[in-house]
C-alpha cells in the first residue's frame, strides 16, 4: 500500500513536470520558421516531389530522407524475430495441450479471405509512395493473412526453412540496394533510379523497390514469429 502511494506521488510529480514541459510546445500552432526552413518538415514537404518524385511525403522521408532509420527499423524487427526464435527454441518439446478444433465456418471463411489479404497487403506496400501505407503495414497485413490460417485451420504450418531463406535474402537485397547507391552515386541508399512522373505507380525511384523488399521481409518475419510463438506447445 505504501509502495502504491509512493508510486502515485511519483507519478503526479512526473505528470506535472511533463505537463509543464509540454505546455511550452503550443499544440496545433504554425510550424516555426526562423531562418530559411528552420523546420525540416516544411523542407521535406516542399521538395519531395522535385527531389524524390514521391507524392507521399511521409514515405519519402521514411525511405529516402531518413532511409537509414528504416534500415534500422527493419533490423529491429529482424532482431525481434531472431531473438524470439532463439529464446523459445528449446521450450518446444514439452507440454502438450488439448486443443479444440476450429469449426467449418471459420475454416472455409479464412480459406476465402486468405488470398484477399495477400492481395490487400501487396496493394498497400506497392502503393506506399502514393497512398498511406508502405512496406511495414503491407507486410503485417500479409502476416495477418497467415495468422488467420494459424487461428482457424487445424495444424496449419508454414515451411520454416523457406521463410528463413526469404527473410535473409530480402534483408541482403535491402543492404545491396544501399551499396549499389554507394558505388553508383557515392552515397549509401542513394536514389539511383529515375523519378518518373509523380503520381504514377512506377515513380519515386527506389521507394517502391525498397517497399517491396520490406513488405516481403516483414511478412515473412512476422509469420515466422507467430509460428514460433504458437509452436512452443504442441497440439493435443
Amino acid at each position: 500500500m505504501i509502495r502504491r502511494l509512493f508510486v502515485l506521488v511519483l507519478l503526479i510529480i512526473i505528470g506535472y513536470f511533463l505537463g509543464t514541459a509540454m505546455a511550452s510546445i503550443p499544440f496545433g500552432a504554425e510550424k516555426v520558421d526562423v531562418g530559411p526552413y528552420r523546420s525540416v518538415g516544411n523542407y521535406y514537404v516542399d521538395n519531395t516531389v522535385q527531389e524524390t518524385g514521391g507524392v507521399n511525403a511521409v514515405t519519402s522521408i521514411v525511405v529516402l530522407y531518413r532511409g537509414f532509420d528504416t534500415l534500422g527499423e527493419v533490423t529491429v524487427l529482424f532482431l525481434a524475430a531472431t531473438g524470439l526464435a532463439a529464446i523459445l527454441a528449446l521450450t518446444r518439446e514439452r507440454r502438450k495441450l488439448k486443443k479444440e478444433k476450429p469449426s467449418l465456418i471459420m475454416r472455409v471463411g479464412t480459406d476465402y479471405l486468405f488470398p484477399a489479404a495477400i492481395v490487400l497487403g501487396s496493394y498497400v506496400f506497392l502503393h506506399g509512395h502514393l497512398t498511406p501505407g508502405g512496406g511495414f503495414p503491407g507486410g503485417v497485413i500479409i502476416a495477418s493473412g497467415f495468422l488467420m490460417l494459424f487461428l482457424a485451420q487445424w495444424r496449419y504450418k508454414v515451411d520454416e526453412l523457406g521463410l528463413k531463406i526469404i527473410e535473409s535474402l530480402a534483408g541482403m537485397t535491402y543492404v545491396t540496394i544501399g551499396l549499389i547507391g554507394l558505388f553508383k552515386l557515392g552515397t549509401f541508399l542513394g536514389n539511383f533510379l529515375g523519378k518518373g512522373t509523380p503520381g504514377a505507380l512506377l515513380s519515386a525511384g527506389i521507394i517502391p523497390v525498397i517497399y517491396i523488399v520490406i513488405g516481403i521481409k516483414v511478412g515473412s518475419e512476422m509469420t515466422g514469429l507467430l509460428q514460433n510463438l504458437r509452436e512452443t506447445t504442441e497440439n493435443e
Binding site: 513536470f17 511550452s24 523546420s39 525540416v40 533490423t75 529482424f78 528449446l90 554507394l182 549509401f188
Partner: protein
Amino acid sequence: MVSPILLIAIPLFMAFSVPIWGLISKKLPKLVPFFTFAITTAILVSLLPTLFSGQQGFNLTSVTIAGIKPPYGINLTFGPASAFFALIIQLVALAASLYLFEYEPPEPAEKFYMLFILVVLGATGMVLTGDIFNMFVFLEITSISSYALTAINKTGHSAEAGFKYLLLGSLGSTLFLLGIALLYGSLRTLNMAQLSLYIHQGHLDPKVLMAVVVLFIVGLGVEAELLPLNGWVPDAYEAAPIPVVSILSGVVAKAGLYALARVLYTIIGIETGVLNLLLIFGILTLLSGELSALRQKDIRRLLAYSSIGQMGLIILALGGGNSPMAMVGGLFQAFNHAIAKGLMFLALGIMAAGFNKWDMESLAGVGKAKPYTTFLFTIGLLSTLGLPLFSGFWSKFLIIFGLVHSGQVVYAALALIGSVIEVVYFARLLGYLYGKDPSEELLNSTLESKKGFALLGMTFLAAFVILIGVYPDFITNFILGGTAELVYKSFYISSILGGI
C-alpha cells in the same frame, strides 16, 4: 570506395546472410562474426590516416546518407571521438569473436551469431551517427539484441535477468524517445549539430531543456549503468554467456557512455550546469558499485559491481569537464575499462570452462591449474586497479588530478576512497586465485591447450593493455582529439553544417 558507412553496412549484410551460410555448411556460421569484425576493423584502421590529417591535427568528416545534406538528411560523423569509441568496440568485439571459435553457444547457434553481430553493429551505429533519432534506433538495436542474448541460456535465472534488463532498458529508451519528441517539438529538427546550434542560441525553453536533460540521463543511463538504473547489471552479467558478458561491459556500456557524453556535451552543452548532475550521479554510482562488490562471492557478480564502479568513475570524470584533463582521463578510462573488463571476462570464461562454477571457493587455486589464463586475468585486474606500467594507471591519475584541478577536491577524495575499496576486494580475489590449492575437479577440467584461438584474442587484448601502459602516446591523439570534439561545440557544428 572506403567510407565509414561500411562499418554498419557490412555487418548488417553478414548478419542477414548467416542462414544462407548455414545452408552451405553447419560449421560456417561460426566463422562469420570473426570475419565480419576483421573486415570492419580493417576498414576502420584504413580510415584512420585521413582522420589525423589537416591543420588541427585531426578532422571531422560528415558522411551523408542518400546524398541529402545534414540538417535534412541523416549523416554519420567520423571524428576522433566517434572513431575512438568505434575502435574500442571493434577491438573488444574482435577478441570476443575469436573466443567464439572455442565456444559452444546455446542452441540455435545461428541465431546466437546473428544477435552477436547485431549488438556490435548497433553499438557502432550509436557511436557514428549524427542524428538523434537515428541514435535512438541504434540504441534499440543494441538493447534488444542484448535482451535476447541475456536470456538466451534459457534457464529461469537468465530469463529473469533478461526480463529485468528488458524492463529497464525499454523504459529508458522510451523516455529517451520522449526527450527527442520534446526537442523536436520545440526546435523542429533532429540533426545533432543543428539542435546544438539552436540550443546555444537560446531557442529552447528552459523548462523543456530541464525535462530533456533529465529524460536523456535516465534514458541513456540504463545502458551506461548509472546508479538507480543499473539493477539489471549484476544479474545479467551472472546469467548471460561469457562472450556476451564481455560484449555487454566492453561494447554496450561504452556505446551508452558515448551517447550520454555526446548528448550532454554536444547537444545540451556544458554551460547549462549538467556537469553537477553528472558528478553526483557518478560518485553515487562509483561508491555503491565498489561497496557492493566487497560482499560478493560469485566472481561474475564481483566483476559486474566493479564494472558499475568503473562506469561511475568515468561519468565522474566526464562531470569534471571544466578541466579538459579530467575529461581526457575519462575517455582514457573508458578505453581501459572496455579492454581490461573484456579481457577479464573472457579469461574468466576459460578459467571456469568445463566446470561451470563461478564462486571464489570453487575457483580457488586456478592460478596453478591454468597458469596462462590466470596470468592474463591478472593483467586485466592490475590494469583496472591502476598500477603503474598498466594502462589503467594513466587514466586514474589523470582523472583524479583533473578533478582536483577543476576544484572538485571532495569528489577526488571520494574517488580515491573508491579505488582503495577496489584494492581490498581485488586483493582478496587474487589471494583466492593464487594462494590456495586447486580442487580435483578444477584440475580435471584443464582444457587450456585446446583453447588456442580464444587465448590468441585475449593475448591480443593483454598486449594492448601493457603497450598502452608503457607507451600511452599511442592513443593520445585520439583522446585529445576526442575531448576537443566533445567539448568544443562550435567545431562540431561548423564541421557538419559548414561555416557559420
